[in-house]
């Protein structure tokens, strides 16, 4: 019925389909698991801005080609820039990405993201801020940044901190993976639709001539089901997660987990401790602080703060763990990063504070978020 956009070719990293009431964007970089390139981010930003102006467009559908929705940002490119002494290029990349996140978080029309595969890091940033997130049996969610020497960015300090209890701290610090059922249970996903029904769902959504969230939600509900949590789901450990991850410091969180391990020999506890001990200690500390500040801030402030943090990381003033993490995990793949400082105890509050301060560089500026006409309640915060 509606013509496929003529600009869409095989080489386009974002495919665009123009339907009568909807725009459908498809991330198209399947070999790289749809990792967000600078080009993709710019394209999405332009597309989202343009669609907001167009009255006939009622909703946006964001999906992806291949087995991943989006495995994250194009970190490899950023690390290349850093190694060439060009941290500003990296900062520019993150600034653009965070602006896109903000645009999505404050968007006036509903965004439906079809998360039929891997959703990690930047992929979460490009979907979770939107109104509807549809998980499937193929969904795999994670914020794995602490293992890379980074921290959960893309506004994760906003959405992780608003998950039930202290589940956000758990996900953000350990990088633990969730399946579709778990995403639905904790609220990262708004619906669960079996992948075999996705094409029918799409068809139905394209017929919706409304931006009313209730109408769209009802449409998705027709294809949804409530999946059972698997027997070994982390979500069943919520009590222990709350008890341990509510502690004041990273050190105390690990201590609390070790105490739990004494009375409960489940593998889950030991593997949780393991992932914390493998992560960059600096990353753990700044991530915990970031999530806790984020809990008290609006999404815009979260992104501005995260931008400060990421600039400090790119400059490598306090720690160079990000380069080291990328080397060990993405480039050399020896999976054996040498973190520096190597232990939590070696990182003082002052060192953590520095990540949250303005960058000491004359030309540097805080992230300027795009002006938004109608700020939703959750975007407002005065802290």
């Amino acid at each position: 019925m509606a013509p496929v956009s003529s600009t869409s070719t095989e080489t386009d990293q974002v495919l665009v389909e123009e339907k009568s009431f909807a725009r459908m964007f498809t991330l198209n970089r399947p070999k790289q698991l749809n990792a967000l390139s600078f080009q993709m981010i710019s394209r999405l930003r332009d597309l989202f801005f343009a669609c907001e102006q167009e009255c006939s467009i009622k909703l946006i559908i964001l999906k992806a080609k291949g087995r991943a929705f989006c495995a994250g940002g194009d970190v490899a490119a950023v690390v290349r820039d850093i190694s060439q002494g060009n941290w500003r290029l990296g900062a520019n990349y993150f600034g653009k990405e965070f602006s896109l996140n903000y645009l999505m978080a404050t968007y006036s029309k509903p965004q439906v993201s079809i998360l039929n595969g891997i959703v990690m890091g930047g992929g979460a940033g490009a979907s979770i801020h939107g109104r509807f997130r549809v998980a499937t049996e193929n969904s795999v969610f994670a914020m794995p940044e602490t293992a890379l020497g980074l921290f959960p960015d893309v506004g994760a300090s906003y959405f992780l901190s608003r998950l039930p209890g202290f589940f956000g701290e758990y996900l953000g610090l350990t990088g633990s993976r969730l399946d579709g059922a778990e995403m639905l249970a904790c609220g990262l996903a708004t619906h669960f639709v079996p992948s075999e029904r996705l094409s029918s769902l799409e068809e139905a959504l394209l017929k919706v001539d409304s931006s009313d969230p209730a109408v769209i939600s009802a449409t998705i509900n027709e294809f949804s089901q409530v999946p059972n949590l698997k027997e070994k789901s982390v979500y069943r450990w919520l009590d222990i997660i709350d008890r341990c991850f509510s502690r004041r410091t990273c050190e105390e969180i690990i201590l609390a987990l070790e105490r739990e391990a004494l009375i409960n020999s489940d593998d889950w506890i030991s593997s949780t401790i393991q992932s914390l001990k493998k992560a960059s200690p600096t990353s753990l500390k700044i991530s915990l602080r970031s999530i806790r500040e984020g809990r008290l801030q609006g999404v815009g402030q979260c992104l501005v703060r995260e931008y400060r943090m990421v600039c400090h990381i790119l400059r490598g003033e306090v720690s160079k763990d990000f380069s080291e993490g990328c080397r060990a995990i993405l480039l050399d793949k020896d999976k054996n990063p040498k973190w520096e400082p190597s232990k939590l105890e070696l990182i003082s509050d002052n060192m953590v504070d520095r990540y949250f301060s303005k960058v000491d560089d004359e030309d540097w500026e805080d992230l300027k978020l795009p002006a938004r006409p109608n700020l939703p309640a959750h975007a407002i915060s005065k802290l």
Binding site: G165, L296, A377, K382, L383
Partner: protein, 675 residues
Amino acid sequence: MDRVKFRTQILNRHLHRPSLSSPSSSIEPSICLQYSPPELAETSQFDTRSMRELMDNHNFADRDWLYGLMIQNKLFCSKERGGKLFVSPDYNQSMEQQREMTMKRIGYLLDCGVFEGWLTGKGVESELRKFSFLEVIGMFDHSLAIKIGVHFFLWGGAVQFFGTKRHHEKWLKDTENYKVKGCFAMTELGHGSNVRGIETITTYDSNTGEFVINTPCESAQKYWIGGAANHATHTIVFSQLNIDGKNQGVHAFIAQIRDSDGNVCPNIRISDCGHKIGLNGVDNGRIWFDNVRIPRENLLNSVADVSLDGKYLSAITDPDQRFAAFLAPLTSGRVTIAAAAIYSSKISLAIAIRYSLTRRAFSVSPNGPEVLLLDYPSHQRRLLPLLAKTYAMSFAENYLKMLYVKRTPELIKTIHVVSSAFKATLTWHNMRTLQECREACGGQGLKTENRVGHLKSEYDVQSTFEGDNNVLMQQVSKALLAEYVAAKKRNKPFNGLGLDHMNKSCPVIPSKPTSSTLRSVEFQTNIFCLRERDLLNRFAAEVSQHQGQGESKEHALIVSYQLAEDLGRAFSDRAILQTILEAETTLSAGPLKNILGLLRSMYTLITLEEDAAFLRYGYLSTDTAAAVRKEVAKLCSELRPHALALVSSFGIPDAFLSPIAFNWVDANSWSSVQD
């Protein structure tokens, strides 16, 4: 006449809305009914994050952690209004339910490790963390903070400061983890501020090595004892100690009042104080002691002891000094009360100012848009001076807190005087601010969920407990007089309590000060010092005049109460000014320093305008007073653009404000009724 016509037109428009009857036009609420977040219109000229750090002063990340602990747990009754989450106790619950909720919340905070190190921790760092946590807890609910304060600061503090090693080892750890729940029985029905007059009496039985505590008459019943009505297992008992028929004055003992199952112990009678105007989450009770026997070791013996065979032993022979040494450590209560008062003012101002930046009333021209409340100069005059005072007093509280945590024996007197002055001044300021904010929010201020009105009843007690404000202020002027007498008698310069300005020559106030003079540090300091200096001279003269007529010093002080009150205020205002000045001086030139300068000027000039002493004693001419008044109005309009940023800098999470601080249209919409 025009006005009438204008109103008629408006009514007419309301009654005949053409848009409603015409199907082609979309139905949209008129502009005056749409909520627009203040963030869209107001931009911040300074970094609110830095300002928050300046104000909160310490333990920012710890505070944020604790805010988060409360927001994430359902015990703190979070509910969504207008798309945002708010936490607050349910004040519609019965007194009994509120008390049980308070205890449950304490249990949760305990499990989270909030109280770790509150009594067993050492050093400035752990003390500051404790203070910051108590401040944050008080922003959620005053009852919760008071219940915790009684247990840790009064019961725990008494064990810590009045007790010795044996008490510390036995009680501190168990107090920190709530194995024992403590209360603090000092006030009696017949004696409050005059602790030395209490009537509870304790004797020593050398046959059994026990003390025997008695309530000899109804006026000796312990009264208002927080925690006594329901939960406390132990209490500190303040009592006269009678050894061999000789009264040794007031001493403190530990007595168990309930067993671990919560049953009241034999020879103890407890009754509830009943429903109160506020703080119903705290179980205040009354206690009678009927020959209650406690082991000799339960005397808190840091200052005095009784030997096994019943001999009274004390290194301090003078009972006056003994009593003073005894009570000195209790100043922590005044430090925390003053802090709680300031945070309560911050909450109410943040709510009232945010509301005034989104609520409109009346248009100034026909068909024109209605005007934002805070764009009315009169509304600015109501709220912005209180905002400036809150800023100044926030720095004063920070100063007091640091003075307290870094205390040395030499500083005891200063801490006593400053904490008395600031406790009284800051809590009075809070009540005034709450009332003004309540009224500034109009009808919405009356809803409990909007906080500002309800806080009045929760915080009213602050002017009474831990020292009646008026009594405290009398002590301030009495202490100043003592400094005066000492300096004159020994012909030595003034030293301490900030009185060194008395050594200099009397400052001269320019007769026709310009706007920039009025805003200068020099003028502001001089006028405050002049007032303090002159009042101290007058007070000393009046007291000595009465004494010259053969009256006792005590009587002379009592009849000179008017000057005493003026002097107390003069001391307090001048000391507060110095603290905000100090904060300003530490900053390097820039927007933050400029805004503090404006606030400092507003603080000073509004004080000049409000305290009649400046005109009464002629420190200001009527002309200058008129110039001050003009300058206040000017400062209001200059602070107006910063209003939002200034309340944002308080760093109070949204969830701790209230629905009218955000989208109050959505929060009150019909769809929210149906949820």
